[in-house]
């Protein structure tokens, strides 16, 4: 595995995160604190801004009294932990079958065009990272793009461009379906259980 030049020199939980970490560890029986590795890695990733440098993984390992390699294994297994730096907005486009059938190719194309970067790349200003991900678990609203913690659904070329442009301007576009659907209800309103029957 390659190492990264942007490694910060030190890492420690902020006092807020310290309190959160303690609360998470308290959920597990005494001596089983290693079970808290995943939520703690998430805390660390959020604190740093979207990724986990090695020093943070070492910190978590030390915090939980486990061998560092076990933490590296976890962080490298799950795709939602980023072991390389990502931009402020991590644009994760699903290209699995349902999204692909519903036009994820156009969505990827629009992302590349709007951001000027390819898959797996980060914009020069550090604002956007574009990734291709496996099923995001929202096939009913395909195609889907997850940007940080928000899902943008029922996308097409125009709507994803609009979302990205808004983010570029520093706005917070509304998440969820972008074609006027209510959650996963049928487009254009209910088709069953209509009226008072």
């Amino acid at each position: 595995m390659s190492m990264h030049r942007e490694e910060p020199a030190s890492f420690a939980f902020s006092s807020d995160n310290e309190a959160r970490a303690k609360a998470i560890i308290a959920k597990y029986p005494a001596g089983r604190q290693q079970s808290a590795v995943m939520p703690l890695l998430d805390l660390a990733q959020r604190q740093i801004g979207g990724w986990l440098p090695r020093i943070a993984m070492d910190y978590v390992a030390d915090y939980l009294g486990m061998p560092p390699i076990k933490v590296y294994e976890v962080a490298n297994f799950y795709t939602m932990y980023n072991v390389k730096p990502v931009g402020k907005n991590h644009v994760q486009v699903c290209t699995n079958l349902p999204c692909w059938l519903r036009g994820s190719d156009q969505v990827v194309h629009a992302c590349k065009k709007t951001l000027g970067i390819g898959l797996g790349e980060t914009t020069k200003d550090g604002q956007f990272t574009l990734s291709e991900v496996e099923c995001a678990g929202a096939c009913v609203n395909a195609p889907v793009v997850a940007i940080n913690d928000d899902y943008y659904e029922d996308l097409d070329e125009a709507t994803i461009t609009r979302v990205l442009e808004a983010l570029k301007r520093g706005e917070s576009p509304k998440s969820g379906p972008q074609n006027g659907r209510l959650n996963s209800a049928p487009l254009g309103g209910p088709t069953t259980l209509k009226g008072g029957a």
């Binding site: 595995m1 390659s2 190492m3 990264h4 030049r5 490694e7 440098p53 090695r54 020093i55 061998p67 560092p68 390699i69 076990k70 590296y72 294994e73 490298n76 297994f77």
Partner: protein
Amino acid sequence: MPKLTIDGREIEVAPGTTIIQAAEVLGIEIPRFCYHERLTIAGNCRMCLVEVEKAPKLVASCSMPVGEGMVVKTATPNVLKARRGVMELMLINHPLDCPICDQGGECDLQDQAVAFGRDRGRFAEAKHAVRQKDFGPLIKAEMTRCIHCTRCIRFSTEVAGVPQLGGIGRGEHMEIDTYVTKALESELSGNLIDLCPVGALTNKPYAFKARPWELKKTESIDALDALGSHIRIDARGAEVMRILPSNCDDLNEEWLGDKSRFSCDGLARQRLDQPYIRENGKLRPASWDEALALAASKLKGARPDQVAAIAGDLACAESMAALKDLLDGLGSPHRDCRQDGARLDPAVRAGYLFNATIAGIEQADALLLVGTNPRKEAPVLNARIRKRWLKGKFPVAAIGPKADLTYRVDHLGTSAALLDAIAKGTHPFAATLKAAQKPMLILGMGALRRQDGAQIQAAARGLAEACGLVKEGWNGFSVLHTAAARVGGLDLGFVPGAGGKDIHGILDGATKGEMAVVYLLGADEIDMSRLGKAFVIYQGHHGDAGAHRADLILPGAAYTEKNATYVNTEGRAQRTTLAVFPPGQAREDWKILRALSDALGKPLPYDSLSQVRARLAAINPVFGQPGKRVGAAWGAFGSPGAVADAALATAIDNYYMTDPIGRASPTMAVSVETFLAGAKPRTGTHG
């Protein structure tokens, strides 16, 4: 006990046994990659699939416990087809680079591909490749060849106790890695090479040196620590190419320490291959006749009480017996085999043996370490302690240096005075020892080397007696030696005779000029500057400290070059087997002494190895039972007295260089640089 049928043969095994183990008992071999009987079960290679009646699918026999009435078939067309499929999948990403792979000829994947695979692959796409990794100076990693059996991860985590290897990434991108570029920090790392079923982890110093079918394989005994691990010496022509562990459940299981495995390249360097005589301060080559005549004239010319002999850590029992007989013939009582100055009482055998035995560690239920770091002094034994510790309910405490021993140790302090406190019951650990059924104490050479070593030995005896370490059917008092020669030397009485001087007396005497001739039998670990003006005869195999000081050098044989007897720390006499001949004019050590006795005109009464061994058995019956551990009766030993308050230290600082062979080995030199020479800063951007 469940009864089952495998391939039509019935067998009854203990509950919890897996199908693969039951089949093994019947002698039915089921192919496997990830399963290893000394590691936990992973069940990820799928090579061991078998058919079980009434099971809907084939089952992995390594992880399926046997059940009553199970009917297992290991060679049905279905099973063979499945194995063929597994093999084909395994070979999808495996490079077919056998011609340039060091594992070739002893590769599980190669063998099983021939036995169970298809004759051609159907995978036409690009294979996956892995970036080159650096696992240090001992292990060569070619991870493109890895089949992800995870044996290495399990070994390092479970047996070695150094969890530094892991599986990074997922699915087909999974790689075995340390993640941070560094060498595996274990004295047992070489065992990964044996465990790896493919050529992913191979022996780096041995890389591209030889093919297994060119090697002459000799089963022998290791002499680089006091364990007497069983080894296999692989030699080509006159050169030892590599050393591998050989299975021995009582001693080393199937592991071997890195020093014992990798210092074999030292056997070909710095060798004494002919006699030398010092003239005008310089050593010049000489013939055997000349050398022996000079030795004889010096020995004859000196008063008997001005002659002394010191045996080193690698000296075999045969040569020590011959030297002892030779000195007796001359009338000199000054001799010692404790070159490190250990104040071990030779009077009672149980006082210097590892009485609990190495396999016995697994029965112990409490352990006190005194002045020892078993991880450095005997890494394989340390793995046994860890194995016991992993089973739980095994409190381990230590008096002496603080160290990471790969298991939890309650560090009581460094002062030897704690021994008395525990013996008197005033220290809380006394209660732990007394409550245990089979408590154990390991006494290291670091404690016995001190000025008050004899008092410490007595204090440890007092503790053993007070805390119930010695009882019917159990003796937990265990001395951990660091020298292969030591127990043998003590057993045959290579200690001062009546009125004789011990190592301290010999060196003091030599400093004062009272010693005319000092005979060093492979003794390199003494302070040569204290030998004064004595005429020093050095008999040994390496040009090390002893040879540098010597006035006369008689070239001997290393432990791989002679049929010799060593008694391990438990008191088990074991015999090495000659794998290659000594280089040049060097000879087996007892023969040199036999020839010298002729030159002295007092021939020793043995002319063949069997006669020497008969003599050994006559001195001590222990030598008459090779391979068998001979215990000893308890008695009073050590010198009661005050113990100084000074901190206890370990006997070994530098694990990789404890003997002339290690000091001559380039591999050991890079190991020292990598593992010991102060942690060089390795930052995240380092390579």
